[in-house]
């Protein structure tokens, strides 16, 4: 029971990270119908920006809460630039191309980002000293002490706040309305006087900033990153997006949570070597038997 509770806590934390990345996949899929294969690498860039800013701020001696806010903001701004540029360079020219062209272009972009970061930052793994330490301990008298660290609380809280802000953005603002309109019919939206290109750019900017927050959390939670983390995290987050129903934003968060739980319970109870297999198997099973996910719309084939 205590062990189960601990896995649950870890799973929810991990799920928050995946959920934030998954939103980027699902939004881009909803609006231009492509799988943004480079999104995982955008997350990786976010983690690197966070790492660099943590190291720099450690020298200045600013108090921790301000550092956290600053790092989050810096990571969001710089990573958003990457998302925006990737869209402009690699996807925008391909909007009218054949169906698989953006996917292949995204694949190329993913290779570029990974190797560019490797060239610029080195191939070695990077270790960050723990930023937030300590936590609550439960069941101290039993054999297995359950720990809920402050860091985990921070991660889940930030995710909830971001999700709330983001939901308001989508449902209440003009930008959100434009985005939902673009999802339904891009030509018609353009005829209504909405700048479709700008809306798509904004989608990439928002998706990348959310992924960068996930990157900040990842680097704080694991303390170890390298240029390759984006690949696996990207696939897992994509699985989350499909599981929740691709194109559906609450679905992405739900899917992320489920994937986080599946992964932690699998490594806790079955086998830690094969923990990535768990994610891949889920992906395959979901795509084969359940391609619309929990909250997705069914895909109708039209002649």
């Amino acid at each position: 029971m205590e062990y189960f509770l601990q896995q649950l806590i870890n799973g929810v934390t991990l799920g928050s990270v995946y959920g934030l990345i998954a939103i980027g996949y699902t939004m881009v899929y909803g609006i231009i119908g492509m799988i943004n294969f480079a999104h995982g690498d955008i997350f990786m860039v976010g983690a690197f920006v966070a790492l660099i800013s943590f190291i720099l701020f450690a020298l200045t001696g600013i108090s921790l809460p301000i550092v956290l806010i600053l790092v989050l903001l810096i990571a969001m701004v710089f990573t958003a630039c990457y998302g925006w540029t990737v869209e402009k360079l690699a996807y925008k020219p391909l909007r009218k191309s054949f169906r698989l062209a953006p996917l292949i272009s995204a694949l190329g972009m993913s290779i570029v980002l990974q190797n560019y970061v490797q060239a610029a930052q080195g191939a070695r793994i990077k270790t960050l000293q723990p930023v937030i330490q300590g936590g609550f301990n439960f069941f101290k008298e039993s054999d297995f002490v359950v720990t809920l660290s402050y860091l985990q609380i921070f991660i889940v809280l930030v995710t909830i706040v971001l999700m709330a802000v983001f939901t308001l953005l989508i449902t209440r603002t003009a930008l959100g309305r434009a985005q939902r309109a673009c999802e339904q019919d891009r030509t018609m939206t353009a005829l209504m006087g909405i700048n479709v290109d700008r809306t798509i750019s904004m989608t990439f900017i928002i998706g990348s900033s959310l992924a960068s927050v996930a990157g900040v959390m990842f680097v704080m939670y694991y303390g170890v990153i390298d240029f390759y983390i984006g690949f696996l995290a990207g696939i897992k987050a994509f699985t989350a997006a499909v599981l929740g129903g691709i194109g559906s934003i609450p679905g992405a968060m739900l899917g992320g949570l489920l994937i986080g739980l599946i992964e932690t319970f699998w490594s806790g109870y079955i086998s830690i070597e094969y923990k990535d297999i768990a994610a891949f198997t889920t992906l395959v099973i979901v795509l084969i038997f359940f391609p619309t996910g929990f909250l997705g719309k069914p895909d109708i084939e039209k002649v």
């Binding site: 190291i55 292949i104 560019y116 696939i235 297999i277 891949f280 795509l287």
Partner: protein, 422 residues
Amino acid sequence: MGKDLIQKSLKDSLFTGIIALALFGPIVGLRTVAKNEVLVVEPKWFVVLLIVIFCAVGRFFINIYSYKKEKRRGEPSSFGKAISNFLDEKGAQIAIAAIAFSIIFPFMPFADRYWMDIAIMMMTYIMLGWGLNIVIGLAGLLDLGYVAFYAVGAYSYALFAIHFGWSFWICLPIAGLFAGMFGILLGFPVLRLRGDYLAIVTLAFGEMIRILLLNWYELTKGPDGLTGIPRPSFFGLPFKRYPDEGVETFHTFFGLEYDPMQRIVFLYYLILVLALITNAFTIKIRRLPVGRAWEALREDEIACKSLGVNPRNTKLTAFAIGAMFGGFAGSFFATRQAFISPESFTFIESAIIVAIVVLGGMGSQTGVVLSTIFLIGLIEVFRDFESYRMVAFGGAMVLIMIFRPRGILAKRKPTITMGKHG
């Protein structure tokens, strides 16, 4: 007008410079290095400055150039068209010349060990490209996990050869058969998925097989890999300087001096023959009903269904045949290296093979050869700049999709036409 243009371009290039600064400032400008187990930041502002200036100036000239080009737009770039027209006219002669060149290649004066190794590597990629071309080019199924079948072929060859001591020529078809069976096994549940979902699922399968190879230590020796895979022999004559007692070797049988190049040359011809078999097979099967069904399915699945083509079975044959050729190539790889480990079968290999097929122009056999020479050549030229070469490679993929989304040889010729004027 001109002044306005320059003003606009200047503004735009200033903006580009700011974006470039944001992109490269933190990642390039602040390199994290470990000093005494602690990460510190090492500034590299000069490099960033160079990149930013390069981006801004480049943007300025692109703006000016594209304005001038605007006036004479409408004619598509004719480079690829010229190549494909030339190949159409002289196709047969060029093919014969290319095959003749590849046959005499080992006897060229410059063909030393280095060139032979590159040639063998290119031939392997050409064969893989031709195998995957059946899946992507003909049947239109984007398979991002092709390396899985390459791995299955390599491992089944290695395991059979090591544990049973069977010769290359027995293990080769078995390896192909195994890979083909894997193709059917993996393809059966997923082939009804849409194009992009199929791509992701095949990617997942590819990674799953790699993780399995990495962790199933009893069978595959995990990350240590399999060593001592038997080298191929020339119809039973091994290539060895000091053979076992009473065994005749290649050089004693033919009364030659021993030379390690003999084995390399033999390997070269082996992969050449395997690749040419793949090519001949593809050219033939394109004209058969199943080949035509693949191409029809690629163009319009719904129309095919209504005409009574079974999409799943048709796709499955393409998937399995492609996998089989991947398996053949894998067993060749195993016997050439004499050592295999999961390291050789990462996702990036799949990406390279996909890039070869797509860049060549999906479905074009000649295109695969051209793009292999270009891409593997590119990787080889940048060999000294380890990670920059993959940046160049990925960048090439993006640029090709933007400027020639149908590949170098973009022209699609129907394999079968009705009558002369049809």
